[in-house]
């Protein structure tokens, strides 16, 4: 099942296309990270997926073919928007009650227990909580709805490193315990390495690269060698991006496995998610090789084999 499936999806604001010809399928059971520069269309894509806005072109379906924004989609998806909007003048307990009244399912006990663990006072006004506590409250409200998909738009933007860590730990726990799929957008590449196992690089309103993180990392590596020889290899190998120094050059290349011959005098080493993402972001024209999205069933059978 694909939690988000976009087909030639486009959204235009006035004369500007925020998202254009976007085709992607995010399989369930992942923490999928949506990365890209400012204005790449991350928020637009997420707004389309949660039904806050309607597409100008193409289609977007969620939770295995459900129309985005339909009653079933709203019921199964919890969304935490950028800056975690809450009613500032309502107390924490009122926010719980509010969310409980607006949804078919709401696990009040879970929400209270989670807030208790986080030492967030129930009587305090939401507006008086710290930024980290507000983000945690918004996450708690979302998780207590028992969603099948959790969508987070820039959840870490406003948080300090400690709060970021705590927030993502909360997301990962929910992922492990509840089996909820997660799609998040973020600028913070370093944090993603730890949490994301599916990556979508969005650039200029369309998908540049998408795939499972392990798979993407296995299909790329970095070659380090004399800068003078860099150009010679750049033509022969599938170079995505080259970092050239005085003496040495680093080439990020696409490979078909570890069997590719390494030229003499060059060293090869695996690529990190941050390096990989940065390389693609610096080369907006490069298109990543993405394997066809696989469903959870295929993955399960692989694991249990």
């Amino acid at each position: 099942m694909n939690v988000i499936e976009a087909n030639a999806l486009g959204k235009r604001y006035g004369s500007t296309w925020a998202l254009r010809e976007c085709t992607l399928a995010i399989p369930d059971g992942h923490v999928a990270a949506l990365v890209g520069p400012n204005g790449a269309g991350k928020t637009t894509l997420l707004n389309l997926a949660v039904g806050l806005t309607d597409p100008t072109a193409g289609t977007v379906a969620v939770l295995g073919g459900t129309r985005a924004g339909s009653a079933a989609a709203l019921d199964g998806i919890a969304f935490v928007a950028q800056d975690a909007p809450l009613y500032k003048n309502l107390s924490v307990v009122d926010m719980l009650h509010l969310t409980c009244n607006l949804n078919r399912h709401f696990d009040q006990r879970y929400a209270e227990a989670r807030l208790g663990e986080l030492a967030i006072p129930l009587k305090r006004k939401a507006g008086k909580l710290s930024g980290g506590q507000q983000a945690q409250l918004a996450l708690t409200l979302a998780l207590a709805r028992r969603p099948r998909l959790l969508v987070l738009d820039e959840p870490m933007a406003m948080l300090d490193p400690l709060a970021r860590h705590d927030f993502m730990a909360g997301v990962m726990t929910a992922m492990a315990e509840e089996g909820v799929s997660v799609v998040l957008s973020s600028h913070v590449l370093a944090e993603l390495e730890r949490v994301a196992d599916y990556l979508i690089v969005l650039s200029g309103g369309s998908v540049q690269m998408a795939g499972e993180v392990d798979d993407l990392l296995a299909r790329h590596r970095v070659l380090t060698g004399p800068a003078a020889e860099a150009d010679r290899f750049a033509e022969r190998l599938g170079v995505v991006h080259a970092w050239r120094g005085e003496a040495q050059a680093h080439l990020l290349i696409r490979t078909n496995g570890s069997t590719d011959p390494v030229p003499p005098g060059w060293e090869t080493h695996p690529v990190s998610l941050e390096e990989l993402t940065l390389a693609y972001l610096r080369e907006p024209g490069a298109r990543g090789a993405a394997r066809p999205a696989r469903g959870r069933d295929a993955e399960l059978s692989e694991v249990t084999k």
Partner: protein, 352 residues
């Protein structure tokens, strides 16, 4: 890890195929919790206004009883009548109270959607399971009913307050008298006051959705309301029913008179006293002179009539007050429902 964890997913509530929506009644608590401060403010403001109107109303009613029951021959009676007539200024002939509907409508109605859009909380509210168009409809309808009911209640008090001015048959005492159609009074009484409050709220709701910011939406609501109220009072209202035509010279003071003119032999002769032909005025110059040294209209009219002229008056009789109220209330209700429907449609169509 992620794949294995799926094997131990706790039992999720059964997804029934029909997916019954979240019940409407759940919005009751939501609306109360989110708008209780605004509604409380309206209640306090209307409560204070009601106490004030009640106090000055008691004085007015006492003055009226004193003025109508005194012995016309006594010297104090003239003072009592003057006393009553001057009380008219307390609520400035009704125009102050005309501000109540647009203020309620703008402050409650414009905030409903504009505040959510301005603070970004619509991204929370409209992604909950309740659904955004149902959320909008529930809020607008419930709040509309509450503010309309409150306005209807206070307009009963206004009706009582203005009663002495509308009691006919005291012209001989020279007491102030108002037509129930007077532009200051018509929409303070009956169903019109509640209907105008409703339409102000509905304008506010739509303005809030289109403008997306609270203060500009309030300003736009007040402007749109003022325009609508002026058009209704000055252009629309007189056409609700075809005016009556009478040749009776003594049209009651409670009637809403549009025009008067004279005919002779079934043909238009002249419109006002001043346009009367010179010869006719000369003929009637000898009629008895009234208290102010001029011939009074009644005797002039008799003289004109003797020379074959007939005065015609087109007017709306006071007895049409309630039909006019229902007509105005009806189209305002229809307009309000249309505005609310358009607002819900806009929310449904384009959110972010």
């Amino acid at each position: 890890m992620t794949a294995l964890s799926t094997l131990t997913v706790p039992a999720r509530p059964e997804e029934d195929a029909s997916l019954r929506p979240v019940p409407w009644r759940r919005m009751a608590w939501v609306i109360w919790r989110q708008h209780r401060i605004a509604l409380g403010g309206v209640a306090v403001a209307l409560g204070a206004l009601a106490v004030y109107v009640w106090i000055v109303g008691l004085q007015l009613h006492h003055a009226y009883v004193a003025a109508t029951t005194c012995n016309p021959a006594s010297s104090t009676c003239a003072d009592l009548i003057t006393n009553f007539n001057f009380m008219n200024h307390v609520l400035v002939g009704g125009y102050t109270l005309q501000l109540v509907p647009p203020l309620i409508g703008a402050f409650v109605g414009a905030a409903v959607l504009a505040r959510e859009l301005e603070t970004g909380t619509f991204r929370y509210a409209w992604t909950q399971g309740f659904g955004r168009w149902r959320w909008t409809l529930a809020k607008l309808v419930a709040l509309a009913v509450v503010v309309t009911a409150a306005a209807g209640a206070i307009s009963v008090l206004f009706s009582w307050y203005y009663q002495p001015y509308l009691a006919t048959g005291h012209q001989s005492l020279a007491l102030s008298e108002e037509s129930p159609f007077s532009s200051a009074l018509f929409d303070l009484r009956g169903v019109a006051f509640a209907a105008w409050t409703l339409v102000a709220f509905a304008i506010g709701g739509l303005a809030g959705m289109l403008i997306r910011r609270v203060v500009p939406a309030i300003v736009a609501t007040l402007a749109a309301y003022a325009g609508l109220a002026l058009v209704a009072a000055n252009l629309l209202r007189e056409h609700y029913l075809t005016p009556l035509l009478t040749s009776n010279v003594n049209v009651p003071g409670s009637a809403w008179i549009f025009s008067q003119w004279w005919t002779k032999g079934g043909k238009f002769a002249f419109s006002g006293w001043r346009d009367a032909p010179h010869g006719l005025v000369q003929l009637c110059a000898s009629v008895p002179v009234g208290p102010l040294g001029k011939p009074s209209q009644g005797t002039l009219a008799q003289c004109f009539a003797q020379h074959g002229y007939t005065q015609l008056t087109s007017y709306q009789p006071a007895s049409r007050f309630w039909p006019f109220q229902w007509i105005e209330g009806g189209w305002l209700l229809a307009l309000s429902m249309l505005l609310i429907a358009v607002t819900v449609w806009v929310v449904r169509r384009r959110a972010a």
